[in-house]
């Protein structure tokens, strides 16, 4: 148990002081008690901002900690969502159907990422090839799903639906209890907290040190006896599974999914969340994912056409002026360390 706490409090994320942990606990408590004073509609919206966090965390692990950039995380998000929809839609009679469907969705994301990652990582390609090929993968997936209109494209009783996407996807159900509204909010919150704490333990544990070592110097890691290709493949699959969790939550939240989930614009967004928050800090990515999702959701629900331009400008500005990310830049600034978090370790 003590070992676990030491791992969570390790140095490979921002914040490790007592002050920091009290603030984070207070924040978690605020989210926990939010349904008491917020409406069910509000809780559903907040659940939407939260549900993309596992996707962002997976990309942070892959890019910020592992040094491998992927533009295709949305492909695994979409695969998990569609597979969940197909399996759950065919098992509506069975009360365990949605649980089986969740496992099937994650398994599909894992298998596709493992097959794809095998070619990419075992070929030892240059660093720029992985993002390009993952981008092509997600674009082709989106194109393919767009072509699946019509009655001949059905699996069992579920229509894939072409550009209009798949509708009527069942919500998560355990026994007779259906997770909707407040209960779905709590499922999402619990998964997000679990993912954050679990990954924080991972990056501070021995396997996590190997991941960071690969980012720093692949050759040196290999000479120390680690199979870099296999390690990178493992991190890639883990990140894909995290995207899959977000994909599952998304279809359980909105009960529909369309090919645009894998399209170019959606593929851009995770990279923006991670870059703007700070790619080598899990907490920074959580904060940025939440706030940027809220921003784009509010802007686009007002019919604001400038949403993408604003997000693009934020990204370019951050890359130019705070390349390590806004949240990380604040947390590592001298001012923050002197006044707010004096016990933070030197590399944050």
């Amino acid at each position: 148990m003590r070992q676990l706490f030491r791992l969570i409090g390790g140095s490979h994320d921002i914040g490790s002081s007592r002050w920091f942990w009290s603030a984070l606990t207070a924040l978690a408590a605020a989210f926990l008690f939010y349904p008491l004073f917020g409406s069910e509609f509000g809780a559903t919206n907040v659940a939407y901002y939260l549900l993309n966090i596992p996707l962002g965390l997976g990309l942070a692990l892959l890019w910020g900690y592992g040094g491998v950039l992927s533009f295709g995380q949305t492909a695994f998000f979409t695969i998990a969502g569609y597979v969940y929809g197909i399996v759950a839609g065919n098992m509506t009679e069975n009360s365990a159907g949605t649980v089986v469907a969740s496992c099937a969705g994650l398994a599909a994301a894992g298998v596709v990422s493992a097959a794809f990652g095998y070619f990419v990582f075992f070929g030892r390609v240059a660093a720029w090839i992985v993002p390009i090929l993952t981008l092509v993968l997600t674009l082709l997936l989106s194109t393919f799903l767009g072509l699946t209109a019509g009655y001949q494209w059905r699996v069992g009783s579920v229509l894939l639906g072409g550009y209009n996407g798949m509708t009527g996807i069942p919500a998560l159900q355990v026994g007779d209890f259906v997770f909707q509204g407040y209960s779905f909010y709590y499922v999402t919150l619990a998964l997000v907290i679990l993912c954050y704490l679990g990954l924080r333990m991972l990056v501070n544990s021995h396997p996590g040190q190997v991941v960071i070592a690969m980012r720093e110097d692949e050759l040196r890691t290999e000479l120390l006896g680690y199979d870099v290709r296999l390690q990178q493949l493992g991190v890639f699959v883990l990140a894909a599974l995290l995207s899959g969790i977000s994909g599952l939550l998304y279809v359980q939240w909105g009960n529909y999914i369309t090919p645009s989930s894998a399209g170019l614009i959606q593929a851009t967004l995770p990279v923006i969340w991670v870059a703007v928050g700070g790619r080598d800090s899990l907490l920074a990515v959580c904060i940025a994912t939440f706030l940027l999702n809220q921003l784009t959701y509010v802007l686009s629900s007002q019919g604001n056409q400038y949403a993408l331009v604003i997000v693009g400008v934020i990204l370019v500005a951050v890359m130019l002026f705070a390349p390590q990310g806004i949240v990380v830049a604040i947390a590592r600034s001298r001012w923050w360390r002197r006044t707010v978090d004096p016990n933070a370790s030197s590399h944050g």
């Binding site: 950039l69 070929g123 720029w128 090929l133 092509v136 890359m319 130019l320």
Partner: protein
């Protein structure tokens, strides 16, 4: 006669596919080979080229002039962008990828806000002829000729001009080139301008064959990047030509038999297999013998 028309038809398909891939990728591969930077705003540069060409033809200029204007306009834009943004990302290839993606978002959405969702189409110039039961467009034959001229011109630039000499020296070893008096910054700016201009030119040349819209760049993203991944950056011209020929060789039969989308999937699978065998692309194979730019 019938057998002849079949053969000509397959060759024509092969040629048009190869030319489409080559034109989509040429600007990207020039920048990658030289500066090790992947420009994700490439599709939007092509979109800008198509827009400039559309506006120019609306004002009565013939297509060749419009295409030249596209080259100049996008090259100028590329050089300004290099000075303001790209310059800060040399040596940080993933950072460059992300920042150019941000730029592509701004350009595509900006075009939508400025010009609206549609632009008037450019009519395909010149006619077509038929052979057997197939008909062939003169315009695609012209594009094949233009591509050959373009590749020849690039070869001349890289091998017969002092800019080309300095560019190849910078490509092999920037520090050494700098110490021998090459203005490396200027070479980078001109190369980025050349790559951007080629993207604009390709966009203008392909504009009559497609619909012109703010997000039209997306359709070039997958083919262009697959061509570049397969080609690799070790030798710009060999990479672009070899890769587009090889990929067209795969795409044409699959596309004819199973449809356009299957042709694209075949491209991705080919790319995965090629990088498994030749991680640095086929240009490294061609380059391997002469060891010209093997220092990368």
């Amino acid at each position: 006669m019938d057998a002849l028309s079949e053969v000509v038809s397959v060759l024509y398909q092969f040629g048009t596919n190869a030319v489409f891939l080559l034109l989509s990728a040429i600007g990207l591969i020039v920048i990658l080979g030289m500066m090790n930077i992947i420009n994700l705003a490439h599709g939007e540069f092509m979109m800008m080229g198509a827009y400039i060409a559309t506006i120019a033809t609306e004002h009565g200029s013939p297509l060749p002039v419009a295409a030249f204007l596209s080259f100049l306009g996008v090259a100028l834009f590329g050089m300004i962008l290099e000075r303001l943004v790209i310059r800060r990302f040399y040596g940080r290839e993933l950072g460059a990828l992300v920042v150019t993606w941000g730029i592509s978002l701004i350009l595509a959405q900006g075009a939508l806000l400025l010009f609206g969702p549609y632009m008037p189409a450019i009519a395909i110039p010149s006619g077509s002829f038929s052979l057997g039961r197939y008909s062939f467009s003169y315009y695609w034959l012209i594009l094949i000729a233009v591509s050959i001229i373009l590749v020849g011109a690039l070869w001349l630039i890289y091998n017969r001009t002092s800019f080309g000499l300095m560019a190849r020296a910078t490509m092999q070893n920037p520090a050494m080139a700098r110490s021998l008096g090459v203005d490396v910054e200027k070479v980078y700016a001109l190369t980025f301008g050349l790559g951007a201009g080629l993207a604009g030119l390709s966009g203008a040349l392909l504009a009559p064959t497609t619909s012109i819209a703010p997000f039209m760049g997306q359709q070039f993203v997958a083919p262009a990047f697959i061509t570049v991944v397969v080609g690799g950056g070790a030798n710009v011209i060999a990479g672009a030509v070899g890769s587009s020929a090889l990929l067209s060789f795969v795409q044409t039969p699959v596309g004819l038999l199973l449809g356009t989308f299957s042709g694209m999937v075949a491209l991705l699978l080919t790319a995965l297999i090629i990088i498994r065998i030749l991680p640095a692309g086929i240009s490294s194979l061609l380059q391997g013998r002469s060891r010209l730019a093997g220092a990368r």
